[in-house]
């Protein structure tokens, strides 16, 4: 990853931001945090070497360490997938999603982003069942990911899965949902949100 790019973002951004991708060691994380990022997020490298979570938490504190999980429904239940950024390499690790969720918290994950791959990109709403199940196994902030299509989906995932935050990308990038309008809407729905 281009560290200068992180630095350029930090120069203009006045809210906390998290860098994901390409962080495989404490030294990588130190570099990214030194460029002005607030947190780092790791996914596949944590599956390769779960001790990386412990090392990062020890060095920077749990508040700095976000762990992303890509989870897919299989005939055996929800399973963690790895290398999902590359369709040729993407694979089922065989790890049970909720068991992994518990393990990473014990190791020092301070925040968890659960990307429900079945819903990712389809814009039909978050995977409320899986996220509600994850909530019961998760004592740290839980971020819902995958499936946002309309503002009501956000309200639904806060209400029904009691997540701490909802992540979306596509609907924001193509302008289908405006962030200020979404926050106004959620505030009116009784979700606590900084306007």
């Amino acid at each position: 990853m281009d560290r200068n790019w992180v630095r350029r973002v930090a120069r203009i951004l006045d809210i906390p931001f998290c860098v994901a991708g390409g962080i495989r060691s404490v030294a990588d994380a130190e570099e990214v945090l030194g460029c002005g990022a607030e947190k780092v997020s790791i996914n596949s490298p944590a599956l390769e070497r779960p001790g990386l979570i412990d090392d990062l938490a020890q060095r920077f504190g749990t508040q700095c360490v976000v762990v992303g999980i890509d989870s897919l429904a299989t005939p055996d239940g929800w399973r963690v997938h790895q290398y999902t950024g590359d369709t040729a390499r993407s694979r089922n690790t065989g790890r049970e999603t909720l068991a992994w969720l518990r393990e990473i918290q014990q190791r020092g994950a301070g925040e968890i982003v659960l990307n429900c791959m079945d819903m990712d990109g389809v814009r039909l709403g978050y995977d409320l069942n899986q996220l509600a199940a994850a909530r019961t196994a998760c004592d740290v902030p839980l971020v819902a990911s995958g499936g946002a299509g309309v503002p009501a989906h956000f309200a639904q995932v806060f209400r029904d899965a009691r997540v701490d935050a909802a992540l979306a990308a596509g609907v924001f990038h193509d302008g289908q949902i405006g962030i200020p309008a979404l926050k106004q809407y959620l505030g009116a729905q009784g979700v606590e949100v900084r306007l």
Binding site: R7, A10, R11, I12, D14, I15, P16, E30, L33, G34, C35, G36, E38, F60, G61, T62, Q63, G110, D139, V140, P141, R194
Partner: protein
């Protein structure tokens, strides 16, 4: 001419503070040099890591005895604010001691994990130039496990199970428990207000 200095107390996340001051048109310097810190118009003590480790670094650079002598505006941020007090429960650290009191650990409770991390609202207890243009209910960004209970020095509080000191001030020593450099427009106003103190 403003000549703010950020005390180089070690640690990784000084860049965001530096950039926040640059966005205000200021050119902060990062220094652990006593002479340079004494010559600054404004001194900012950031908080990085744990209390005892931070104090050891300040002691090692001769800064824990210098800071109480400073007469220009001094702002401690997050752990930097806690270091201005007498002591902290964190590693049972003795601190700089320009403000009376001891930082205590938050008790975790259901729905209130520790560290207290995220956006929380400010509530002013009285008027203060640091809070000019900042309204009750404005959000600021916090990341901390230890806090000061409200006292005579407290200017604004925030609530995490109970009120704790979010902004403090006595004489030329000021503190923010939140991170103004990461608190959007509210944080920028706060930093501009600090640079406006003389």
């Amino acid at each position: 001419m403003k000549n703010p200095v950020i005390v180089a107390s070690g640690g990784a996340n000084i860049a965001s503070l530096q950039y926040a001051l640059e966005r205000l048109g200021s050119r902060p310097r990062l220094s652990a040099d006593s002479k340079e810190i004494e010559a600054a118009t404004h001194v900012i003590l950031p908080g990085v890591g744990a209390a005892q480790d931070a104090m050891m670094r300040l002691d090692g650079a001769g800064l824990s005895s210098l800071i109480p002598q400073l007469s220009q505006p001094v702002l401690g941020i997050c752990l930097g604010m806690q270091l201005l007090y007498e002591s902290s429960e964190e590693q049972d650290a003795r601190c700089i001691g320009v403000l009376p009191g001891r930082a205590r650990r938050f008790e975790p409770a259901s729905g209130r994990p520790v560290p207290h991390m995220g956006w929380n609202r400010l509530r002013a207890l009285h008027d203060h130039p640091l809070l000019a243009g900042i309204c009750d209910g404005d959000y600021a960004y916090f990341v901390h496990s230890y806090a000061l209970t409200p006292s005579a020095e407290t200017v604004a509080v925030s609530d995490y199970g109970a009120d704790f000191s979010a902004v403090v001030s006595r004489g030329n020593f000021h503190g923010a428990q939140f991170h103004p450099e990461r608190s959007a427009a509210t944080g920028a106003k706060f930093l501009a207000n600090f640079l406006g103190l003389s």
